[in-house]
């Protein structure tokens, strides 16, 4: 494939991500295939076979739980380690996800965002990374494939600086399988940006240590507190590393969040991931009509930049949170985080849920929703293009006790 690092190419998002991972010189790559992450790991497997990854060991395993466990062993032995998964795979490795952050191992993992079953669904939404948002991993979200690739480079640097694992979330199909113009990273700049891994602790012969001891009531609270406080402190390096990246590579990505005409807007839309691209087009359309509307794309979802977001919204009258996950009992998790950060601010807030299980989010639907929001005729909780006829009919049926017949 005639694509040159450092110059724009037309490539699939997954390939650009694989290229970025390779440039970061991981020593161990271990992943289990799951739609829609497959093209990333296949590309890396090919590079490994063609000896394009130096000493990197590419390990094929029998499950996602094994994949992240291999990365745990590798990282604890002082090697830079990488894996990727989605949806069911992320849940299958859930125990290991908490174990990685609990042990402060700087593993980087791509999440090709995909809906969690049941029922089974292979298409994009963000319920997977949301399900593990509290597992102590830093979570970064990409809007487009240039950012998807670039965030991985930042992720390794960030992880190894703060000693915490990082998940880079990339919408399945919409990004992973999309072809667009991307400048593949070049090795020299990547090496300048990402020095070799120097672990704070690792298995070694000179100083034998026991890693992974059992911590009882006498010390567990302190360990948890310290992990959480270090986690919160990573907000600053997330931002500074993004700025350093921009200065070196000449293009912006990541950071805590990005304003799009939102500094002075009355209505601000907030979202994660690729839907931000569609939202920007809609914002432009509405602004052309004279609306005071803007959007904020949150790049760092965990830790949540609550204080910074609150400050950024100081001029806003209302926020509309658009998100692609919805959990029974709690509703939209992003909405919950935003509301908490806006406590006592007097800013009105609307939760909009869309795109679940891969249902398309259309510009025309967003236009209507945002207009309603600006007119304050939007429901506190609404769903994009939900088939209300089906819902009504099914609820009637259930209440009549005849569902399933």
């Amino acid at each position: 494939m005639p694509s040159q690092p450092g110059k724009p190419s037309q490539v699939e998002g997954s390939i650009a991500i694989a290229h970025a991972i390779a440039a970061c010189r991981p020593e161990v790559i271990c992943a289990y295939p799951i739609t829609p992450q497959t093209h990333i790991v296949e590309a890396l497997a090919r590079m490994a076979r063609l000896e394009q990854l130096g000493n990197c060991q590419y390990v094929n395993v029998e499950s996602e739980f094994a994949a992240l466990s291999v990365c745990i062993g590798a990282s604890a032995s002082g090697s830079r380690a990488y894996t990727a998964t989605s949806s069911q795979g992320l849940l299958f490795m859930a125990e290991a996800v908490y174990n990685t952050s609990g042990m402060r191992l700087p593993v980087v993992m791509t999440i090709g965002n995909r809906a969690i079953g049941g029922p089974i669904n292979i298409w994009n939404d963000q319920s997977d990374s949301m399900a593990l948002r509290d597992a102590g991993w830093i979570q970064l979200h990409a809007e487009n494939n240039q950012e998807a690739a670039d965030l991985h480079i930042q992720a390794f640097r960030l992880a190894e600086q703060v000693n915490l694992p990082v998940m880079v979330c990339v919408d399945g199909f919409l990004l992973t399988h999309a072809f667009e113009q991307i400048t593949l990273t070049d090795q020299e700049k990547t090496d300048a940006f990402l020095p070799p891994f120097e672990p704070i602790q690792a298995l070694n012969i000179e100083e034998p240590m026991s890693i992974g001891a059992m911590v009882g009531p006498e010390a567990f609270m302190e360990v948890r507190y310290l992990n959480a406080s270090q986690f919160d402190e990573s907000l600053e390096p997330i931002q500074s590393i993004s700025e350093e990246f921009a200065a070196l590579f000449g293009r912006s990505s990541g950071g805590l969040f990005e304003h799009y005409h939102s500094e002075a807007a009355q209505t601000v839309v907030i979202a994660l991931g690729s839907v931000n691209g569609t939202i920007k087009d809609v914002v432009d359309n509405l602004r052309d009509e004279g609306a005071s509307i803007g959007s904020i794309k949150i790049s760092a979802y965990r830790p949540f930049p609550a204080a910074q977001l609150r400050e950024a919204l100081s001029q806003a009258e209302r926020v509309i949170v658009v998100e692609k996950s919805f959990f029974s009992g709690i509703g939209g998790p992003l909405f919950n985080d935003v509301v908490r950060s806006l406590e006592n601010s007097g800013i009105a807030h609307y939760s909009v849920i869309g795109g679940l299980g891969g249902r398309a989010i259309l510009k025309k639907s967003l236009i209507e929703i945002f207009r309603n929001g600006m007119e304050e005729s939007l429901e506190p909780l609404s769903f994009i293009d939900l088939d209300q006829k089906v819902i009504t009919r099914e609820l009637l049926r259930q209440r009549a006790g005849s569902h399933g017949k």
Binding site: S9, I122, V275, G277, T278
Partner: protein, 194 residues
Amino acid sequence: MNLFEVRIHGRGGQGVLSAAEMLSVAVFLEGNFAQAIPNFGSERMGAPVRAYCRFSDREIRSREPVIEPNALIIQDATLINQAETFAGISDDAWVLINSSRDLEELGIERYIRNISPARICVVDATGLARKHIGKPIPNAGLLGGFAAITGLLKFESVEQAIMQKFSGPVGKGNVKAALEAYSQLVASAEHASA
């Protein structure tokens, strides 16, 4: 170049995604922005598949499906009797259908009622593929046809895009199929004004 949106319909195994990919590469090679996104299920061969490709002289940010295609490419004529195939096409859209039959025989008048006949073209891309690469994968031929009828791409860009994707005899064969489709259609189709 204003935003131009293409929707490609076909079945799994026919190279629908590759068609969108190559189309986006051809556009890129001419210095414009292109985005290609697939839309499929988890079945493998034979299930209906579609791909979206949109291009512009400006960065493309939106990722919604192509709702109002400026051009429709139908790789598998068995899909023409499904209303969704033709959903949203504008009156000045191009429609390019892969079939060995004539337009009249396809019986799709009700879907294309408002479209200028000059913009509806049929090419036997599968036949061309069998002839030049020995396999019934019509995507290259359809790309050549697309370039011909819309005038939006130089044939050389299509050729380069094909050769970037397929090397050796397969690439060359695909290029021949594309060229033959291009030649057939460039003469008969109405060109877009820039």
